[in-house]
């Protein structure tokens, strides 16, 4: 049996599918985020009577790390759909890329914001030109640049292509952020982010962190699909099926 995947590549076919998926992703996101919050605040080792040398501000890890991961992952998704759009010239791919960008920019901002609030009590500063902070800031500017470039070009198809190229060129930032630890020993240089491996994190911290990541991932699906539906409607507004949708949904 073969499935014709290109069937779902048509905006008209994907619009109702996205609409049916949004409540599921939204519901899963809400459940996972609530579990992660409860676990992160009440079920960590220090709450359960164990000893924990960390001060309370370490709890920012439960939003900081998931937000930073999502900022990089959504950029990969943005660049991926841009590349698919350029290669196959499929309309839905460009719409998908455009729908991802604002959510990615929000997570990038949140990674920087929560990082600043963590850095102040732990490093003594809100901001430093640490390699990882700097490259994450550049990722934020890339998201903003993608959105700005897309909205600056009136011709939709040219805007799609130009912004897609920018997204693909900007892809270099993701491995730079991921690898941006130039200093294994913080006593010898000024790098603030240090190498860490998940195995060294206590399970009571690792599990809520991963749960929050899955929750925000699910949230991203819901938010991106909701934005995608709006983009599909406005771009396909000349088509008969959109008129039917509008007649049905607009009261």
């Amino acid at each position: 049996m073969t499935i014709n995947w290109f069937k779902f590549a048509s905006p008209a076919a994907f619009y109702p599918i996205a609409g049916r998926l949004i409540p599921w992703f939204g519901g899963i996101a809400a459940v996972l985020v609530l579990i992660a919050l409860y676990w992160g605040f009440f079920e960590t080792a220090d709450r359960l009577g164990g000893s924990n040398p960390q001060k309370e501000y370490y709890r920012i890890i439960f939003v900081h790390v998931p937000a930073a991961w999502m900022s990089m992952w959504l950029y990969l998704v943005l660049a991926g759909w841009s590349a698919v759009g350029l290669v196959f010239n499929t309309r839905l791919s460009f719409m998908m890329a455009k729908a991802v960008a604002p959510t990615g920019a929000i997570f990038t901002f949140l990674a920087l914001w929560t990082g600043a609030l963590w850095g102040r009590p732990s490093w003594g500063t809100y901001w430093d030109w640490d390699p990882r902070l700097t490259s994450e800031l550049l990722l934020f500017f890339l998201y903003i640049g993608y959105i700005a470039l897309h909205s600056a070009i009136d011709d939709m198809r040219r805007a799609d292509r130009a912004a897609a190229l920018l997204a693909i060129v900007g892809l270099v930032m993701v491995p730079v952020i991921y690898l941006s630890i130039n200093c294994p020993d913080p006593n010898q240089c000024a790098a603030l982010h240090q190498r860490s491996d998940p195995g060294s994190i206590h399970p009571s911290i690792l599990i809520p962190m991963l749960t929050m990541t899955l929750g925000l991932w699910s949230y991203s699906f819901a938010a991106v699909f909701a934005r995608l539906r709006n983009i599909i409607l406005s771009r396909e507004s000349d088509n008969a099926w959109v008129r039917d949708v509008v007649a049905k949904e607009a009261v």
């Binding site: 309370e56 939003v63 929560t114 409607l233």
Partner: protein
């Protein structure tokens, strides 16, 4: 409870981080909802503008016919 709210003296940092995160996500949800509604009403208006245009066109034809009949 007060212990929990104080977060070991780091309440400002912890609650600003969590507050900004879920505040922004909430704003995004509300923005997406309202933009869905405005998109629907905008397209509905476009459709309405486009459909009656044919009737006035027919009416204009009658008008011009009447006008040409007058003199």
């Amino acid at each position: 409870m007060i212990d929990f709210l104080q977060q070991g003296g780091y309440a400002g940092y912890v609650w600003s981080a969590f507050g900004m995160t879920f505040g922004l996500l909430l704003i995004e949800i509300l923005q997406l909802r309202s933009s869905h509604r405005t998109t629907l009403t905008r397209i509905a208006r476009l459709v309405r503008l486009r459909t009656p245009r044919r009737k006035p066109a027919a009416g204009a034809g009658q008008d011009s016919g009447a006008a040409s009949a007058k003199p």
